[in-house]
Homo-oligomer: 441 residues x 2
């Protein structure tokens, strides 16, 4: 009987450690990203897991014909690492031999190995499995992975427990509209619009919890900032003294994210030419103050006193940045009428909630606030809104048997990435976007 | 304008660091887990994020009446930490004062503060938001969090990139049956049965990827090991030389998981009385050999030569453990007829696949194998199976434009936890299970 004892020593080098092998011959795996034929030699760019490696093909030293390889071939490569001052990395690889593992059947109809993806967003998304092979496209989702890694390590350090809540649910957190329905063995079920109910329940168990997972919104919006499925970063914390504590936790978390990116994602940040924000502090402004300020400063009459128009969010961010230098701003105390039934009203002013949005470079990226933890108070608000109390029976179980004061937030991962990378459309920072017209690939 | 600068110094101590405060008075937050009245004093157990803290109420030293608190009250506590040899932790807290933040409306109909949850699995699940407050119940999902943390840190160290693939999809990886359907703006869509297609596509981008997320199976099984929604740990790796490399990676990953639990989850492991397996190596056995071996050793006629019955999986694990001491076993080379269309057949023997299952303590916890990476080969197999080629157009895009040899696996997180904890039913290790009869809470 054979035994598998674990991973073995690789004969292939880690492409991120090539500078350690200068002057030596090495084995490498990767796919041919680009071949540039020059006079008497060729540049061969090899795509590895994270980096594109520049190789030189010189017929006199290579033991193979250049015609053996073409773009998107997957290969094992034998090469000599040589110091090269003119290269940005300080070295380049001289190809000695190559073994082709697989070849493409066809050449991609969209050019994927240019400096930029020079195509429409439609094409970019239609050919996602190949367009993501472009070095800049894929760098976006490495950055995104850096964001989630930093969030997890930060929340772990703050004694949050990660949970996995169900996505097929009985009732939607946000109520009836904008919800996907499905047949669940003859019963009607829904896709979760957020892990709201479950993360609150789990505050009664672990005090602090978080989840990073998919949420589903059947909204018919067709805008550059809406998607019908996205990744939500949710956290919820118990025993808060006030709702500022939630904003404090988010501020600290974002600081940690930016530090992590600055430290470990220099390669991707430079490739994408992004400016990672310096977060010293995030200003807060009361929702009503913000409305009035925008009206006054931008000579823009208020249409809806209870909500922001997207343009107002942009203007507010501009004003805040001018005044404070911050690219983030917390807007607090949203009107009760615009917040869900579980939002806690301000005891001083019941038409306002102890809630906030976080705006970043002109777009809302987070919604959060304190929740109602008392049973009677929650029942009263459900009834006042004319909602069906019975539908919330299992949700109300936690209030009935005791809950600490608590609150939390939900942050759109793709939106945060979008603004961080200064992209125009959230689809650019979504791996395989789902919108009203798109279900493929 | 106010600025939020980050989290502030807490006046409340971290309950996991109480031994540092022996001889001192401290503030603590938590909920009253249990009150045991004794002659002239009382034991008050306080539930904090991770641990239950034993406190003593002595009327002479406490500045409040015991009647002020009751079980499931959420409190701020002022107490003196005293060394106490008879306590398992070496200390206990003497209550000096208490401030009740919230009270339960009612007493839970199921007793949640016993040593064990002494109720039916039905009740356990019906009252999940409160039964999870039991110290042993919640320890299960702390362990589960330890498993996912260890998996992520291990795969990160092996240069895997974490991805978030869509759950609303156009076609199901496993084909037509057992799939949840939904209306997607007038089109028929499905819930993803696995991230299979997407993780393969992403191998063409990052070489190695993983995802930990929900998957959905509309199976009508009503057994102790099936759920209709569960958390799948999926990884996929490119440039493999053979399918053993996938098993090697999983073995190393599981070693890492067990080490992590042994190091950081002693509290939960002792509470649950679990024995964390020592993984030195995992034996492998060919599927057909295994069938014959079970038949011979257990005098059990083979009913289906192409598949295991659950009882056979149990017997095989028993035999393997007797012979090798291992609680895990890889069964390899499953028949092609039982594997999906993307499984790579053994070039030596086309009726067998380069695939495996991992069995652990009698149950399958992982399915994996090498995939077809060549376009022509994949098209041929789809056609041979009479499947609709057009439905796989965007999937086949990756094969068409070039893919490295690759393979991967999917592991059921709840099943792994179930067997690790020696539970009878996978529902015990699922936070909020979804089965053919259960959609709530």
């Amino acid at each position: 009987m054979n035994h598998i004892t674990g991973i073995r020593q690789e004969k292939y080098v880690n492409p991120e450690e090539l500078e350690q092998y200068i002057g030596r011959e090495i084995y490498l795996k990767g796919s041919i990203y680009k071949i540039r034929r020059m006079k008497g030699f060729a540049f061969v760019l090899v795509r590895t897991a994270r980096k594109i490696i520049q190789c030189i093909y010189v017929p006199e030293e290579a033991g193979f014909l250049l015609s053996v390889i073409r773009e998107e071939c997957c290969c094992k490569i034998y090469a000599r690492v040589e110091a090269e001052e003119r290269s940005r990395t300080g070295y380049e690889l001289h190809l000695l031999d190559v073994h082709v593992l697989s070849e493409p059947k066809e050449i991609s109809p969209v050019v994927i190995n240019g400096k930029q993806m020079n195509t429409s967003i439609e094409n970019l998304l239609n050919y996602r499995p190949v367009t993501l092979r472009n070095e800049k496209e894929r760098a976006i989702f490495r950055i995104q992975n850096g964001i989630t890694d930093a969030i997890r390590s930060f929340l772990g350090s703050q004694r949050f427990t990660e949970i996995h809540s169900p996505k097929i649910v009985f009732a939607g957190a946000e109520g009836g509209a904008n919800i996907f329905r499905l047949d669940y063995f003859g019963k009607e079920a829904y896709l979760a619009q957020s892990p709201q109910f479950y993360k609150q329940m789990m505050v009664g168990v672990y005090e602090r919890v978080f989840e990073i997972g998919p949420v589903f919104r059947a909204e018919k919006h067709d805008t550059s900032r809406h998607l019908n499925e996205y990744t939500s970063v949710d956290f919820e914390m118990g025993y808060i003294e006030n709702f500022e504590e939630i904003m404090e936790m988010e501020t600290e978390m974002l600081k940690h994210v930016m530090e992590h990116l600055k430290e470990d994602y220099v390669y991707e940040s430079e490739l994408l030419g992004i400016k990672i924000p310096e977060i010293k502090g995030i200003p807060t402004i009361h929702f009503r103050e913000a409305k009035k300020w925008i009206e006054k400063k931008c000579h823009r009459p208020i249409k809806d006193m209870d909500d922001f128009e997207p343009e107002e969010e942009k203007l507010l961010c501009k004003l805040i940045q001018e005044q404070t230098g911050s690219e983030f701003v917390f807007v607090t105390h949203y009107p009760s009428s615009k917040r869900p039934f579980y939002a806690m009203d301000d005891p001083q002013k019941s038409e306002e909630t102890l809630s906030f949005d976080l705006l970043f470079r002109g777009m809302e990226v987070t919604t959060g606030g304190q929740r109602i933890h008392g049973y009677d108070e929650q029942v009263k608000k459900i009834k006042e809104r004319g909602m069906d109390l019975e539908a919330f029976e299992s949700y109300l179980m936690m209030h009935r048997y005791g809950m600490p004061p608590h609150g939390g937030l939900g942050m759109g991962l793709e939106r945060l990435t979008c603004k961080l990378l200064d992209k125009e459309n959230v689809r650019h920072t979504t791996l395989f976007p789902r919108d009203i017209n798109r279900l493929l690939p």
